[in-house]
Subunit: 213 residues, 2 copies
């Protein structure tokens, strides 16, 4: 398999963790988001959404949207499982994942930040406040979801990593890069630290990618 | 089952379509988003994310995040199926759904719009331009995904409704409300019209909800 990614793309980071946890070999090709390589015609031909990641399967299929890719990997390579078996538990894990993937990450996507500073003439300081606002508010909601449930364990759901952790860890990394205040979400911080002890997560970290700057 | 919703909430709209398609009976209770009822302590106790929808199961479990709710309904009430059986096809349907649910909808969430006009002092005209920009850009990407694939049929994937249509139709409705230009996405417009012919979709429309204004 071939992953189109970028060391700082947190959606690509989720897929890297999934591939590593499942022990699946993959090559990487890099699309430099800060240089806007994702807007090039050549990349739009691969993904008209002009977004990372894209996973090219061994049969040449191009899969987009990190959560769809991870569900595909889960269905085709079920072990180790990234979702519990019980439907209610699966719903909880998916809700935690989407609380990051839908409610935090898209609002801080580079193209949204460019619209703020470009078309709306927002200052860089205001843009960074925006970034931190959505990370802090969003992760505090995740914190409350985690604290409220006896199913929270070493990780977001029980004692093995799930799709929820795959979304949480890259979001925490991005939040820290923008100096978000995570003091309101100690459980999130604890689970992030637990994940960092797992080689599959550590190997997927931005700093450990070949294109890291 | 009990659905916490609001007639104009497009995420609740997705779940209403799913419940209708699967022929599942449900009651509704309404949280008036424009009156900010979702920010009340009483609702935060139900969903700390302060977002709609919430589905209360017959056993009293509170499920959040529309896509997690729909996947739960799919797993517990498999017929009629809202996802194909083949993993690659499921990945395509989920990617189309997420191209709306992650890349368009969150950026135009009411809390984001309030931040723009409140904290950033953006004018109402600029806010509406923002809204239209993300709908038009996002639906044009969906259009290209649809046009590029022979799997597109009467609906987004084949000739029966899937999760992709459940996300697309509410987004088109929201886009039209803000007068987005949909001339760049004729396939999206065609599929939306096909969906409107299906009673489960029509019954779920905002105008047909008891709390419609």
């Amino acid at each position: 398999m071939l992953l189109y990614g970028y060391f700082r793309s947190s959606a690509a980071y989720r897929v890297r963790i999934a591939l590593n946890l499942k022990g699946l070999a993959y090559d990487q090709t890099f699309v430099h988001l800060a240089k806007l390589e994702q807007l090039a015609e050549s990349f739009a031909a691969i993904n008209p959404q002009k977004l990372l990641p894209v996973l090219k399967t061994d049969s040449g299929q191009l899969l987009t949207q990190s959560l769809a890719i991870i569900e595909y990997l889960e269905e085709t390579h079920p072990q180790p499982a990234l979702l519990p078996r019980d439907p209610l538990e699966r719903a909880r894990v998916r809700a935690l994942a989407l609380a990051v993937a839908c409610e935090i990450h898209p609002i801080n996507n580079p193209r949204v930040l460019r619209y703020l500073t470009g078309k709306l003439g927002v200052s860089e300081a205001q843009r960074d406040d925006w970034y931190r606002h959505w990370v802090e508010e969003g992760l505090q909601a995740v914190e409350q979801m985690l604290v409220a449930s006896p199913q929270t364990g070493r990780f977001c759901h029980g004692d093995t990593p799930t799709l929820a952790d795959l979304c949480l860890v890259p979001q925490v990394a991005n939040g820290r890069r923008f100096k978000a205040d995570l003091s309101g979400c100690p459980t999130v911080v604890r689970i992030d630290a637990e994940c960092q002890k797992v080689k599959a997560f550590a190997d997927a970290a931005p700093a450990n990618q070949p294109d890291a700057e």
